[in-house]
Symmetry: C2
Subunit: 337 residues, 2 copies
């Protein structure tokens, strides 16, 4: 069947296990013909090395962990594609963990990595993650870490991010140019790095335009999906309806369109809309949604590539690396293009 070990290969070939081991790892101290023979027998018997034995011995697992808040989000699922692509090329395996926006869960997950479970970690933190003690603890145990997208500002570690500040600024400028006088920013978490930066870009654009910074222009949208929908519905009531709106994350987009349909609020005539999202449905919405589209795939690939560099080259100081990959404004009808 299977379960064929290196020992059996050695017996079959009449040579020592160490020779087989080295031959399989293509060591320079083995003759080409021995290697050829070993390889032949190995493929013939369909030898698959036992990863656990190897990992135990070498203290490395050829496995990385990806910890994200959720998968059912275009950004993360596309990013996983990028990660998987690089991992596959490198011969690494990918463990997926979902923190479900819970710091407690995130902490539990990271705690397990201290035993050498994985060779590296890619993480996009929860919206509850303010302090990064659980992350530095993992890093201190020698685990290479790369943050992607949602980072922890106070931790010195590798980061792959997009230009959230600029994107927030550009999105807002775009709304202003199209004629919005008082755009609002829908915020999901005041602690989340991406939210803060997008928000900062929003504020900068408002200031530059000389718009008085009233407190109402940043609208917190928190709680369950239903609660968020209710908050947005209230916001778009004719009485206090803004004339421009930025959905700072993907999950705010459906409730915005839904509320507009319910209230008979016309996009872009009554309210211009820009959304931060990679939704494939954006162009087919009515009106088509103007988006800030993040380079999800590239970010996944870049973060994975960086992590592998950190894993493989000990001389490489991962923690100093920061890569910024720009997002793009995709202008469509919802902003009044």
């Amino acid at each position: 069947m299977s379960k064929i070990t290196i020992r059996e290969l050695a017996k079959e070939l009449g040579i020592a296990v160490s020779t087989v081991s080295k031959a399989l790892r293509d060591s320079h101290e083995i003759s080409t013909e021995t290697k050829a023979k070993v390889l032949e027998v190995a493929t013939r018997l369909n030898y698959i090395p036992n990863l656990y034995a190897s990992s135990l011995r070498r203290q490395k697992s050829r496995t990385i962990a990806v910890v994200i808040p959720e998968v059912a989000d275009s950004f993360f699922s596309i990013a996983i594609n990028g990660i998987e692509e690089v991992a596959r090329e490198k011969g690494y395996h990918v463990l997926i963990y979902l923190s479900h926006e819970s710091l407690e869960r995130e902490t539990e997950i990271l705690n397990e990595f201290k035993s050498g479970r994985v060779d590296g970690l890619m993480i996009s933190v929860t919206s509850e993650t303010c302090t990064g003690n659980h992350i530095t603890a993992a890093m201190n145990s020698g685990l290479p870490v790369v943050f992607f997208d949602r980072i922890c500002e106070d931790i010195q570690a590798a980061r792959v991010i997009t230009d959230d500040f600029e994107s927030g600024y550009i999105a807002t400028r775009h709304l202003l140019e199209k004629g919005s006088l008082h755009p609002v920013f829908l915020s999901i978490s005041s602690t989340l790095s991406i939210n803060q930066r997008r928000e900062a870009g929003f504020i900068k654009a408002l200031q530059e335009a000389g718009i008085p910074e009233e407190k109402k222009s940043i609208i917190p949208c928190t709680g369950s999906d239903e609660q968020i929908a209710a908050q947005i519905l209230q916001l778009l009531e004719p009485a206090n309806r803004p004339d421009g709106l930025i959905a700072s994350v993907e999950k705010l987009v459906p409730p915005v369109y839904m509320a507009c349909q319910q209230l008979g609020c016309r996009i872009p005539d009554d309210v211009r809309v820009v959304g931060f999202t990679n939704l494939p449905a954006a162009p087919i919405l009515q009106p088509a949604l103007t988006t800030i589209t993040q380079p999800a795939f590239e970010m996944g690939k870049t973060a994975a590539a960086l992590l592998f560099k950190g894993i493989e080259k000990t001389s490489f100081d991962l923690s100093k690396e920061t890569k910024v990959i720009p997002s793009r404004l995709m202008q469509r009808a919802s902003s009044g293009a």
Copy 2:
């Protein structure tokens, strides 16, 4: 820092490693007070067992593999949520592999599992997978396997599916009742189980309605995204435009709406549309999309629960299990409701 082993716990406690090991596994042959002491020291020193040592010794890894064609699809990403939830409860880890609809890649991936890399496998096969030799090979090496959603009909193995035939039938009946005279079925692969069944339901409904089974009613949509878009665009040209349409998988939905917008084809007046999808954007499309919504989360959970049962109870014959979880028709405006 960490890297604390069972040996050090033993030394700290002044007892034997075997005693510590048993205490940690809550063995009945250890006294309650010894257990308490061991546990106390273990938590104090933040002991994390080395999974690789344990896996090597016990020949099991507390890890399962999930092999799917892609993640950037609502069904799969929601299903992963369900899988992860159960895995977490059970203390299992989840490895993700993407086959990208390539049989070759799928085969490569499965081949690695023969060495005991994982304790179980959940798979949704590629659209190229007709023969399941690579899968039976893995099963023969003793690996418990559960198919979910996209199964391999000719393999006797556990299955968690939805009622694709009935859904295809219901979707078609729905279009006919709403007034479509010649609905068409957009098909992505004639070998894919879900496609075949949905298609069979479609054909049955047509036959029952006495509609002559012309060959043109099943439209193959294959190739790249661009090619699919072109095929759909051509289909919806006024000349040969059908009055009803079933998008049999999620990725066909955007090109259908896009083509209609380009051609000025009105949904549902010119063409009624039903889509098989879990897209959160379905209700906000214009018109809102009538969907066959699959129980993605439940299917993920059920499949995982079944797999763990197969892993943990050797007396349980996994291969006989089949669970069918029904999909639901969500009636919205696109079908002329």
